[in-house]
Symmetry: C2
Subunit: 206 residues, 2 copies
């Protein structure tokens, strides 16, 4: 075995190890998200997360720097998933008006289905106003959402410059949060109210 082969093999082993470590991290993060979306950032302790993962508290510190690192990892993970989901809708072959309707309908559905997950996002976003440790992940996610809107506008044949995409994102986000909050407070009509409000807005504006 040549020196190069050895180096190659060691490198592969290192990759396999870090891949395994990464898998375990994600596994822990998934359990952590389950706890976080139920309790919120401030009310979720590392012991809650450890219990949910069936693991000792120390193990969490073996995989994550500290609590902020863990929560940042979790939020990034779930929000990436959400953007990917929405991106699937945008990429469908629907005609422009059907696509918009589908997109809005899918958001309304997500209020019902993923309410607990979304509120975690709004929680962390607010925390970022106090704790700079969350700033990075929040701006990153928000940029991803705006990029998603750019793709949406593009598929709709609309002007898709940054400023316009940001404005559209803000409208969608505001309505989404407003009706999510009502839904969580027990208003089961909130998702369809969201759909109506956003449809009306886009019917006249976009």
């Amino acid at each position: 075995m040549t020196k190069i082969d050895k180096i190659e093999r060691l490198s592969q082993q290192a990759d396999a190890k870090s891949a395994k470590r990464a898998r375990k991290k994600q596994e822990l993060a998934d359990h952590a998200i389950t706890a976080l979306k139920q309790l919120g950032y401030a009310r979720t302790s590392l012991r809650d997360i450890a219990a949910m993962s069936g693991v000792a508290v120390g193990t969490l510190h073996y995989y994550f720097e500290d609590k902020v690192d863990l929560i940042g990892f979790c939020v990034r993970r779930y929000k990436v998933g959400f953007v990917a989901q929405m991106d699937d809708i945008v990429r469908t072959g629907d005609a422009p008006d059907a696509l918009l309707a589908r997109f809005i309908k899918r958001l309304a559905l997500s209020i019902r289905r993923d309410a607990e997950t979304h509120r975690l996002w709004y929680d962390v976003r607010s925390q970022a106003m106090f704790d700079p440790a969350f700033e990075e992940v929040v701006f990153e996610i928000e940029a991803a959402m705006i990029a998603l809107v750019v793709r949406l506008l593009d598929r709709l044949g609309q002007p898709a410059d940054q400023a316009r995409a940001q404005a559209v994102y803000l409208i969608l986000d505001a309505a989404f949060r407003f009706h999510l909050q009502r839904y969580l407070a027990g208003d089961t009509d909130a998702p369809s109210a969201f759909e109506a409000q956003v449809s009306a807005h886009f019917g006249t504006v976009v």
Copy 2:
């Protein structure tokens, strides 16, 4: 002294007492707000607030049921003040277009001046998604903001139905929060960016 006079006097005394108590509550709340807007809901302990007020922790429990009661009182108090400030603008004798410009300018100014106070509102609003104890005060405040927008639209000679006011509120709120967040992260241009974005939106839509 007749029986009726006695009852009258006792009633006045009771009023004076509860008025004094109310004044002290507000005084404590003002100190509490100073602490809360620096640290946020989750990170502010009763001991922080007590220290800020120059008072023992027990005193807080003498005036407030518990922490939730105290924070609810604080948020209600400061947000009522904010709505009143904005209402002053709406009530000016400006011509419609000048009024709108002044209103938006004042909001931008408030991002600079009251950034720390506003982030507390967004914090509490997020907490309400997890803790029903905050639901009431959040809906109450949000209703007051929408009512403010109704008055604004009215003064602008615009249709001022509930649905429209809600939509306009959501747009203002979304842009306000977005640029507030950027301002808090160090972007000093955020307030004027807010002004530009909102002006552009209302120039085309309202």
